[in-house]
């Protein structure tokens, strides 16, 4: 049976293309229908004709779908019409009728249209929001503070936190949740008329989506606190998701904005969980499940004292050791692979402790630190061999620190020794002075040193490398804009990875890596990576450090994958490392709250010293924010989320680095709450995966690339 849904919207100018992008990725067929108005008198324009919203013809038309999705919502509870036409569908409850998915529906009492109010089911158990009595009809959520801006269209910042308890699954998960919002920018959850709900919950009802055989079902509520420190509680009549017969009342899913699902400017869709959950509830069985995986950049590094970290080199390696051991075990249990971009260049070009090679072998560092680093390294190598922590090169020592083609010239480049392009071989480092395609090259024109190179589908004969070779020495200025330089750089990377003890330099069978700065270079680098056996590389859309290149529109270049990326650290990269969830003295971006602008109405910063709940609030918002971006990578972009272990884990307690967050009862450095980003993030995503078994599975970057070829080809 082909999965098929119907999307109903008001107008394309506000239609979020992520709706269809996600459905494409899942292999769910869809039909787009438009409503001619927001009122009950609207007609629904379908590919098979125009039907009145309450007509039997429309009802019959809808019966070919697994689900009908309402795409529109409102930020203004005073609106009198938004999806009024859908009121009739609340009564289309026969087994033949599809499931109806209402995300962040507008059903406030400001709707005065008599046809709406007279057709609104009298037994509907969720209290209709009253804009003149918001406090009495809705529950202010997440501390009740106002977001600085429309909370429904935020993307990678300003998350609103929620730990949600899914009752049937008996699972808690942090997912961004807003049931309704208003012009005051406060997020709200719904209130339940418990009397009506009791009646529905005891009424037998037959429909394929009524898994408990009852007419009403509470699907999800705000999860009760797990600590007495967390005083953010909700009354027992508060709900965030409800099934009324075959109609699902669900939180906000996608912004009502013309976000393009362009491969360059995808805006993160932070509420996408609810769309996936709604589709699963509706029994829409996708053709494809989506692989969930995560990457790290710089799996082993340690900050020297000049960065003023709270821990010594040895202590940093200690918390990395415990955390990587935990992550490797997690990957084993879940069947995923946590990619690591190993800092290469440490052997030949930089011996700092931020380099994988440097912290292992630079004897100017304390032996105890190097020994601790070696234990981390051995976990990574063993994990690479067994497939749990595959590693590839990630080089900040070239291109002015910006990776592949990070600058026009990599000044003072120090190359590797041996192999085809290392010392002492004198090899080209720039394209020849003359380059002619072989099919138009006259005989006897190219000199004896001519080389044929192929970049994509362009083949050229190059000659006259006078002044454009490496010489026999080690150090020279390397122009980065050509295939000869790319070959030298990538060959050096592979050589160093092998010297470090990895059996290969491209994440084992995944044949992949993530480059420094997400700079994948241009065509010449992609060509060379293919020559060395790579299948793909993580890449920003502007894929050079000097911003002169773009990736192809579909992010696949001659079969080579240029996988998109979203960083989900708990601090900004410029601040070097995380001081925790929040630290008043932290620099800009130096804690999670500052980095993601999570301090709504100062409800964290103003209470940090006096109210323990502030830490739990910060914890919720951070987990929601980062899990959302990761899920967006999984479901919308088919890309990779990643974090930097040393940078993000600097706020753990050394006494038990992988302990769960416990508020103020377990402290990390700076006397702030301990927080292990790796543990919390992976455990929370695991809860999401368990909630969505028909839509998600723990996979690998190979699964992602396979799926990209399946749905993007």
């Amino acid at each position: 049976m082909t999965p098929k849904v119907c999307l109903v919207m008001r107008e394309f100018s506000s239609f979020n293309r992520a709706w269809t992008q996600i459905l494409r990725n899942l292999g769910i067929d869809y039909t787009l229908c438009t409503a001619t108005a927001g009122s009950t008198s609207a007609s629904i324009q379908t590919p098979q004709g125009v039907f009145a919203a309450g007509s039997a013809d429309l009802r019959g038309y809808f019966r070919q779908f697994d689900a009908v999705i309402l795409c529109d919502h409102s930020l203004n509870l005073n609106d009198t019409a938004r999806i009024n036409y859908s009121v009739f569908w609340l009564s289309w409850n026969a087994p033949e009728d599809p499931a109806f998915l209402f995300f962040n529906p507008h059903f406030s009492t400001a709707i005065t249209e008599s046809a709406y109010n007279s057709n609104f089911p009298s037994d509907f158990p969720i209290v209709r929001p009253d804009p003149s009595d918001i406090a009495g009809t809705l529950e202010a959520a997440d501390g009740g503070s106002a977001t600085n801006g429309d909370p429904l269209i935020q993307t990678q910042i300003r998350a609103r936190g929620a730990c949600v308890l899914f009752l049937a699954e008996n699972t808690r998960a942090h997912v961004q949740t807003i049931c309704n919002a208003h012009t005051n920018n406060i997020p709200y959850y719904w209130r339940l008329d418990t009397t009506k709900h009791s009646t529905l919950a005891s009424t037998t009802y037959t429909h394929r989506v009524a898994r408990n055989g009852r007419a009403g079902e509470i699907l999800a509520v705000p999860a009760p606190p797990t600590s007495s420190e967390d005083t953010e509680t909700y009354p027992s009549d508060c709900v965030v998701a409800y099934r009324y017969r075959n109609c699902f009342w669900l939180p906000h899913a996608l912004a009502r904005a013309p976000f393009s699902v362009n491969l360059w400017d995808v805006a993160v869709q932070p509420f996408v969980f609810w769309l996936l959950y709604g589709l699963q509830l509706a029994g829409v069985r996708p053709r494809y499940r989506l692989p969930v995986q995560i990457e790290t950049s710089r799996p082993l590094e340690a900050l020297e004292a000049s960065f003023n970290p709270p821990y010594s080199l040895r202590e940093q390696c200690d918390f990395l050791l415990v955390s990587w051991d935990w992550m490797r075990e997690f990957a084993r249990r879940k069947g995923t692979a946590i990619i690591g971009g190993v800092t290469t260049g440490g052997r030949d070009r930089s011996a700092s402790s931020r380099q994988h090679w440097g912290i292992l072998y630079n004897t100017s560092y304390p032996a105890e630190a190097r020994e601790a680093a070696m234990r981390v390294h051995q976990i990574l190598v063993a994990g690479h061999r067994e497939g749990t922590t595959p590693c590839g090169p990630h080089d900040y020592t070239i291109g002015g620190g910006d990776g592949l083609w990070g600058s026009a010239v990599s000044a003072g480049y120090i190359r590797h020794a041996g192999r085809q392009r290392g010392t002492p071989n004198d090899v080209p480092i720039a394209r020849g002075m003359y380059c002619v395609a072989p099919h138009v090259l006259p005989a006897d024109v190219a000199d004896r040193g001519a080389q044929t190179v192929q970049v994509g589908d362009i083949e050229m004969v190059e000659w006259d490398f006078t002044g454009r070779t490496s010489g026999t020495g080690t150090t020279f200025d390397l122009p980065m804009d050509n295939i000869h330089a790319a070959r030298m750089i990538i060959e050096g990377h592979i050589d160093e990875m092998l010297a470090l003890g990895f059996p290969d330099g491209y994440c084992g069978g995944h044949k992949y890596t993530n480059p420094a700065g997400n700079n994948s270079g241009g065509e010449c680098y992609w060509q060379v990576l293919k020559e060395f056996g790579f299948r793909g590389i993580r890449s920003s859309s502007n894929c050079t450090g000097i911003y002169i290149k773009r990736v192809p529109p579909n992010r696949i270049w001659h079969g080579f994958h240029l996988v998109g990326a979203q960083a989900i650290d708990n601090c900004g990269s410029a601040s070097q490392f995380s001081r925790g969830l929040y630290l008043p003295s932290a620099p800009s971006g130096g804690d999670a709250v500052r980095h993601y602008l999570l301090d709504h109405g100062s409800d964290i910063s103003a209470n940090w010293a006096t109210g323990q709940v502030a830490a739990w609030r910060a914890y919720r918002r951070l987990l929601c924010q980062t899990t959302s971006s990761w899920l967006h990578c999984t479901a919308v972009e088919l890309s990779s989320a990643y974090f930097h272990p040393n940078q993000s884990l600097m706020c753990v307690s050394l006494a038990d680095a992988v302990a769960p967050f416990e508020g103020w009862s377990r402290l990390g450095p700076y006397s702030t709450p301990h927080y292990n980003h790796a543990v919390e993030l992976l455990e929370n995503m695991d809860a999401v995966v368990r909630l969505l078994p028909e839509y998600l599975y723990w996979g690998t970057i190979t699964d992602v690339m396979d799926h990209r070829e399946r749905v993007m080809g």
């Binding site: 380059c435 065509e523 010449c524």
Partner: protein, 157 residues
């Protein structure tokens, strides 16, 4: 035993050079055109902002376009606020490296046609052929308020 097939609904024919098996071409594009970009841009007063929101002046909006004779830019503008657009182009070598810094300006700052909520179409280049490797398409609001510009660019071989 020759392989035979039904030809012209009534004639049974042997497979041969003269009468090959009838086949339907699969996986071939009916038109030599590709969708290259779909983007929603907030048009601001910023100078040098391209359709992808970047103000890095060396960064192309589109790369790898050598195979396209022409680009066709369709757009829907939500506002009528005075706006100019500018189109830059350049060629790269076979490594993908631009032949030099800067750009060839193939359309100088020009008023962006269209009223609020209007559909429009611009050919790049307007005359002759393109075959440039990289294009940079900039939009700048010169009066009024920010608005959204939704674009689609098709490459035609």
């Amino acid at each position: 035993m020759p392989v035979r097939f039904l030809k012209n609904a009534s004639e049974l024919a042997d497979v041969s050079w003269e009468t090959p098996l009838p086949v339907q071409v699969a996986n071939a594009k009916p038109v030599p055109a590709d969708t290259l970009l779909v983007a929603t841009t907030t048009v601001t007063a910023d100078a040098n902002r391209d359709l992808l929101g970047s103000t890095s002046t060396e960064l192309p909006t589109l790369d790898g376009c050598m195979q396209y004779r022409k680009l066709v830019w369709f757009y829907f503008r939500a506002g009528a606020d005075s706006t100019t657009y500018r189109i830059l182009a350049r060629a790269t070598d076979h490594n993908g490296a631009p032949l030099g810094a800067g750009w060839q300006e193939i359309v100088p700052a020009t008023t962006l046609p269209g009223a609020a909520n209007s559909w429009n179409r611009i050919e790049i280049p307007a005359t002759t052929d393109g075959y440039y490797d990289q294009y940079r398409i900039e939009v700048q609001r010169t009066a009024g308020s920010n608005y959204t510009l939704t674009s689609k660019i098709v490459g035609v071989r």
